[in-house]
């Protein structure tokens, strides 16, 4: 757990560092006339310091290390689901709302534990249709039609 926590804290330190460097290039101004970079610089430094503090705290605590992810390796499923939703952001303008959502949901239903593909496709069809009816038709939402035109 401590390795992953360390990596997370290092990422935070990196984010804080990047903000600090960018802030300096933006211009700091004076105390009575703060520039656009002064307050972000102070906040960036605070993030770096707090993250260093959290890292030190984690190493000093005496509690035994626990497993961060469950033993059943379902964290792979979690990453798979997140990756598929991320891919959906690229597919949405090309395939359109109905087709992209239908495909995404079919996969999500199957991944979440619906036993067979037929059931997953059926659940996806009903859910996509209902969502389209509520959000696009009733609430007048504006969704992309994509290359297929619907």
């Amino acid at each position: 757990m401590k390795i992953i926590e360390l990596a997370f804290n290092l990422a935070l330190i990196l984010v804080g560092g990047v903000f600090c460097i960018s802030s300096v290039t933006l211009g700091l101004g004076k105390a009575n006339e703060p520039g656009p970079g002064l307050i972000p610089l102070g906040t960036g430094i605070a993030l770096v310091l707090f993250s260093l503090g959290a890292t030190a705290e984690s190493y000093l605590e005496k509690e035994p290390e626990g497993e961060i992810f469950s033993q059943n390796k379902r964290w792979r499923l979690v990453l798979g689901v997140l990756a598929s939703v991320f891919a959906y952001t690229f597919a949405l303008p090309i395939l359109g709302f109905l087709l992209a959502t239908f495909l995404l949901l079919a996969w999500l239903f199957k991944a979440s534990g619906v036993k067979n593909w037929r059931g997953a496709f059926l659940a996806s069809l009903v859910t996509t249709g209902s969502a389209y009816l509520i959000f696009a038709y009733l609430l007048q939402g504006n969704f992309p039609k994509g290359i297929v035109g619907f």
């Binding site: 757990m1 992953i4 997370f8 804290n9 935070l12 984010v15 804080g16 903000f19 960018s22 933006l26 004076k30 105390a31 009575n32 006339e33 703060p34 656009p36 970079g37 307050i39 972000p40 906040t43 605070a46 993030l47 707090f50 993250s51 503090g53 959290a54 705290e57 984690s58 961060i68 992810f69 469950s70 379902r74 964290w75 499923l77 979690v78 689901v81 997140l82 939703v85 991320f86 959906y88 952001t89 690229f90 949405l92 303008p93 959502t101 949901l105 999500l108 239903f109 979440s112 534990g113 619906v114 659940a123 996806s124 969502a131 959000f135 609430l139 007048q140 939402g141 504006n142 969704f143």
Partner: protein, 497 residues
């Protein structure tokens, strides 16, 4: 506008069919979401925010506020029947509510929870009406240094009250502030930290971040842990508590109402704390403290009343100072600003219809909730039986639509996914998302207030310690953060969390 004219105006606004309908939709959806373990009130408000864009601001606030206190009501149902809190403030109801259900008194537990919530919610709204007006007048006299100090205090209280490491909570608050700086500089209009992306010119959206941190991260955690919901198979009958149960519950409900209301006001404190303090108080006052946790009705009545009156109290800092006291209020603040309304001391003067409309809608909402919760318990139980393998893809789809609809931009879905992953890791590593979200909402206003204060004082930070209100707020904020480094207080805080 005087007090009675305001109330009359509120009733005139709320008695329109459309606003009654929005109020009903809000409390219904809020209860439904409160019943479902997963998305929570922050996610629901974020999700439905785009759907309110075509509404006028009063109707939008009426509906979104309805979701909030609806979720407070609904959360108790899962606590009692499932031993899983529907939302965080209902955690404490699990202790005695579930035990009552196991002993065949599920109906009485659900009934007293609904009545207690109704009484507390209604009295809380009275408190809001009487306190908000004078407080707003006082708030008119305060300037940027006081606002900055109060916002610092809000963040300090929230980080102090979060579970686990305060260093982690502080780093999340700092990260939230940094994210709020992305976009145009508040004073010069200069682009900052946008990486050349046009989509980031207006900053990182609150909705995708809230959806990711609260909605997606929750679904991911539940998917990994394969949650199985086993609804207690008891026949729910006798929703009206008997005379003895009423006698035992009246005191806890009234005490919970007062405690909850005042604990809901300070920025950073929340209804979770209110329900816990109420439970501890009832246990202390009881002649049989050893029986708490075994199905004492006082352990359900008090905390449920406290968390509902805290929901009303939480509107006070939002409406009078423009400072959200918790993450739900932070999202509501964002919603109001999207609708072109800036909450603060001038709200009552410039938009009295928003204030009085929302306050009166809360009365009506409480009545609707009582009518909904009692006869529809059977429906909520059926909802609870929907398996998570069906529910999780639907929740993900709702999050996608919520994130996309605000700007019709797939980029916002990507932001949501990124924060979903960050939120998932944060849960695993015991980082709290609440300080991050509150800081993201407050960041721009804090930066503006800090810059104005420094200009006023010719660059001297002493301005925060020489003006009485600012000095008290800043002193408290510094003391709360410093307390983490005092071993005795640090232990007290850990015990509290």
């Amino acid at each position: 506008m005087d007090f009675f004219t305001g109330v009359l105006q509120g009733f005139a606004i709320c008695s329109s069919w459309s606003n009654l309908l929005y109020c009903f939709m809000g409390v219904f959806i809020g209860t439904l979401i409160g019943v479902l373990p997963g998305i929570g009130p922050v996610g629901t408000i974020s999700l439905l925010l785009p759907a309110t864009l075509n509404l006028n601001p009063v109707s939008a606030v009426i509906m979104l506020a309805g979701i909030y206190y609806g979720a407070m009501y609904g959360g108790s149902t899962t606590s009692i029947l499932l031993n899983i809190p529907g939302e965080a403030a209902s955690v404490i109801t699990c202790l005695d509510g579930y035990q009552m259900a196991r002993k065949g008194r599920a109906g009485a537990a659900l009934g007293i929870s609904a009545f207690g919530s109704f009484i507390a919610g209604t009295l809380g709204v009275f408190g809001l009406m009487f306190l908000a007006y004078p407080l707003a007048r006082v708030a008119l006299k305060i300037g940027p240094p006081e606002f900055f100090a109060l916002m610092c205090l809000g963040l300090a209280i929230l980080t102090f009250l979060t579970r686990g490491s305060m260093m982690k909570a502080l780093s999340m608050a700092a990260l939230g502030l940094l994210l709020s700086y992305i976009g145009m500089d508040v004073m010069t209009g200069l682009q900052r930290f946008t990486l050349g992306k046009v989509e980031l010119l207006d900053g990182i959206g609150l909705v995708p971040v809230a959806m990711g941190l609260f909605g997606i991260a929750e679904v991911m955690t539940n998917l990994e842990e394969e949650i199985k919901t086993e609804v207690l198979d008891v026949k729910i009958k006798g929703l009206l508590p008997n005379r003895e149960e009423w006698k035992r519950s009246t005191g806890p409900i009234l005490r919970g109402t007062v405690l909850g209301f005042f604990l809901g006001i300070p920025p950073g404190a929340s209804n979770i704390i209110a329900s816990m303090v109420s439970y501890a108080t009832e246990k202390k006052l009881s002649a049989h403290p050893e029986r708490f946790g075994e199905g004492m009705i006082e352990g359900v009545a008090g905390p449920e009343a406290a968390n509902n009156s805290a929901a009303a109290g939480a509107f006070i800092p939002l409406f009078t100072l423009g400072i959200p006291s918790n993450t739900v209020m932070a999202v509501l603040l964002g919603a109001l600003m999207i609708h072109g309304v800036t909450p603060g001391p001038l709200l009552l003067k410039e938009h009295p219809e928003i204030f009085w409309g929302s306050v009166v809608s809360m009365y009506l909402g409480n009545v609707m909730l009582l009518l909904l919760n009692l006869p529809l318990i059977g429906l909520w139980v059926k909802v609870l039986k929907v398996p998570y393998r069906i529910l999780s893809p639907i929740i993900i789809l709702l999050c996608i639509i919520g994130a996309y609809s605000l700007n019709n931009a797939p980029f916002d879905i990507a932001i949501m996914v990124v924060f979903g992953l960050v939120g998932y890791l944060m849960r695993k590593l015991h980082y709290e998302p609440a300080p991050l979200l509150l800081a993201l909402v407050l960041g721009t206003a804090m930066e503006r207030a800090l810059k104005q204060s420094l200009s006023m004082s010719y660059g001297s930070f002493s301005i925060f310690f020489t003006r009485p209100i600012a000095a008290v707020a800043m002193g408290l904020a510094v003391a709360l953060i410093a307390s983490n480094f005092v071993p005795f207080l640090g232990r007290k805080r850990l015990k509290l969390s």
